[in-house]
């Protein structure tokens, strides 16, 4: 029985394709890509990056590639046997540059983020009860427009923060792309899973 692999259509796609080719595995062509493609003994599902852990956790896909940030936010119960090394980024708390905002001293704190679960865990864990405003994108503009006092967001180079007049205060988490496996597939389809895992492992090392 062939394995089903859930992959992100988003920012991790390029790195995943490069990894697959390095490992000598076939990868569906980008032109007019379908959402479900069978190829070379694998069935690929192309979904939104936040949805990859969901497909894998429910066992609709046996394995997949997801960012650690997305896994943390989803709180998914999946195996993460391989750090793929690409898609490296940080999740940070950022405040308006020069504002000197000390969130522990603020009487009230409103935080805009695409990662409500991670952000609320971060502040609660530090004894701060923050009001979390969930946004789907363009989080960087929230403080400037008065929607939030600070943000929790992903930073790769830090340029977007600077362009929007923000500065990082502290790191919340570090993230890279992970190869993830459904818990039942790992055991009930051990041979196929460990073969794919070993092939990818060689391409990472």
């Amino acid at each position: 029985m062939s394995l089903t692999v859930a992959l992100s259509k988003g920012k991790l796609l390029q790195g995943t394709e490069a990894l697959w080719r390095r490992a000598g595995l076939a990868f569906p062509e980008a032109e007019g890509r379908k959402l479900v493609v069978a190829m070379d003994g694998l069935r690929f599902l192309f979904v939104k990056d936040q949805d990859v852990p969901t497909y894998v956790e429910y066992g609709v896909a046996d394995c997949g590639v997801a960012g650690r940030d997305v896994l943390l936010e989803a709180g998914s119960d999946v195996y993460e046997p391989l750090d793929l090394g690409f898609g490296r980024c940080r999740l940070v708390v950022a405040r308006p540059a020069g504002s000197g905002l000390e969130y522990r001293r603020a009487a009230s704190l409103r935080v805009a983020t695409k990662y409500p679960r991670i952000a609320s865990g971060h502040f609660l864990g530090r004894g701060v009860s923050a009001e979390i405003v969930k946004l789907s994108g363009s989080v960087e503009i929230a403080p400037g427009l008065g929607l939030a006092d600070c943000i929790v967001d992903v930073v790769e180079t830090g340029r977007t923060l600077v362009e929007n007049g923000l500065e990082p205060v502290e790191d919340v988490a570090h993230s890279t792309a992970r190869f993830i496996v459904n818990r039942a597939s790992y055991h009930a389809q051990r041979e196929a899973v460990s073969r794919l895992l070993a092939t990818l492992q060689k391409a990472v090392a």
Partner: protein, 359 residues
């Protein structure tokens, strides 16, 4: 949703309702599993639906328990689990019953679970407890019954993955971690994230860090037990646990069950009362385990009757879903009914054992 703004037919999240064929499938699975329990001379026990909340005082369960204050001011809880209840009954009501005591149950437990893969607030569990028997004999007995239950229910291609909490515990005792560090480590081992385990153990002795990193990926065929013995030779407690697991595996292999077994030493999650063997049942077609169990040698002492114990449970909800996914045929629908003209005729046909349906 504030609990007031719903229509009268709206259902609260987490509840389930089964009609006709679905109910018939569940009933038939339950019948088959229960007949296996009976076949191994386990006695049925029908415990109360609620009890004092402190009976269920387990860290993992307490956050999921529906508790309420009784009329006399005592704190009560709807049972979130059968094992604690059975331990209490074995130590109380059955105190003069000599060990070993073999008990089984089949019924609902209630847990607050956020809606997620394979979880409901109302779970139907079928399971058994072997109280007063040591490892490996009682462990092997319980695992053999678990395998027979899955076969009897009609599950194909299942595997029982075996681990032992003593392996992780024996290694981690040498790592010198604080509580927060331990929680992170456990979570990374459970995720089989070797790199994450290494990062969590930056300040541990290198030998211990390497062993725990290895532990995260030590799963597969029975033969990896030999590898585990070599890798953990420096840690006596962990080595003892691996050897205990090996004798369980040997007993099952001798009984003809070797091809149903796999090892997963990185499986360290689960209820906090387990002290030895832990296992899970997985099958193709379901993304999560269909049942689980393990040894809990210290739980009965809480109730004043120190007895070793081992047990397991299968989730009826998960079994039904799995069988549906595996394309197992529905239990035969009942015979067609006759349609007698009046009640008198219907009673006569019923007396003859015929199924009727009045117009």
């Amino acid at each position: 949703m504030n609990g007031f703004s719903h229509s009268l037919v709206q259902v609260p999240p987490g509840v389930q309702c089964f009609v006709g064929d679905e109910a018939r499938r569940r009933r038939s699975i339950e019948d088959r599993v229960v007949s296996v329990f009976e076949g191994w001379s386990y006695e049925e026990i029908i415990p109360p639906l609620f009890d004092y909340a402190d009976v269920f005082a387990s860290e993992t369960l307490s956050s999921k328990t529906y508790s309420f204050v009784g009329r006399d001011g005592s704190l009560l809880a709807l049972r979130p689990d059968f094992t604690s209840l059975l331990a209490k009954i074995a130590a109380g009501r059955l105190a003069d019953r000599p060990a070993p005591i073999r008990l089984y149950y089949s019924g609902e437990v209630l847990r607050y679970e956020p809606p997620k893969a394979g979880r409901q607030s109302e779970l139907f569990q079928m399971g058994l407890e072997h109280l007063g028997g040591g490892s490996p004999a009682a462990d092997a007995e319980v695992l053999a019954i678990a395998a027979e239950c899955l076969e009897a229910a009609g599950v194909t291609g299942f595997v029982l993955t075996l681990g032992h909490v003593g392996v992780f515990a024996g290694l981690v005792a040498l790592a010198g971690l604080d509580e927060a560090g331990l929680a992170t480590l456990r979570e990374r081992v459970e995720s089989k994230d070797g790199a994450g385990v290494r990062a969590a153990l930056a300040s541990a002795p290198p030998e211990v860090a390497a062993a725990l990193e290895r532990l995260a990926s030590l799963s597969g065929e029975i033969s990896i037990l030999a590898e585990a013995e070599r890798a953990f030779a420096f840690a006596p407690a962990a080595l003892t646990a691996v050897r205990e697991l090996r004798s369980i595996v040997d007993a099952l292999t001798a009984a003809g069950l070797g091809d149903r077994l796999a090892i997963d030493l990185g499986e360290v999650r689960g209820l906090d009362y387990y002290t030895g063997l832990v296992f899970r049942a997985y099958a193709r077609g379901l993304g999560f385990e269909v049942g689980s169990g393990g040894r809990y040698d210290t739980l009965l002492a809480r109730f004043g009757r120190p007895l070793p114990a081992v047990g397991f449970m299968l989730g009826l909800d998960r079994l039904a879903l799995l069988l549906e996914r595996q394309g197992a045929p529905l239990p035969e629908a009942s015979r067609a009914a006759e349609e007698p003209g009046d009640l008198r005729g219907a009673r006569a046909r019923r007396a003859a054992g015929v199924r009727v349906r009045l117009r």
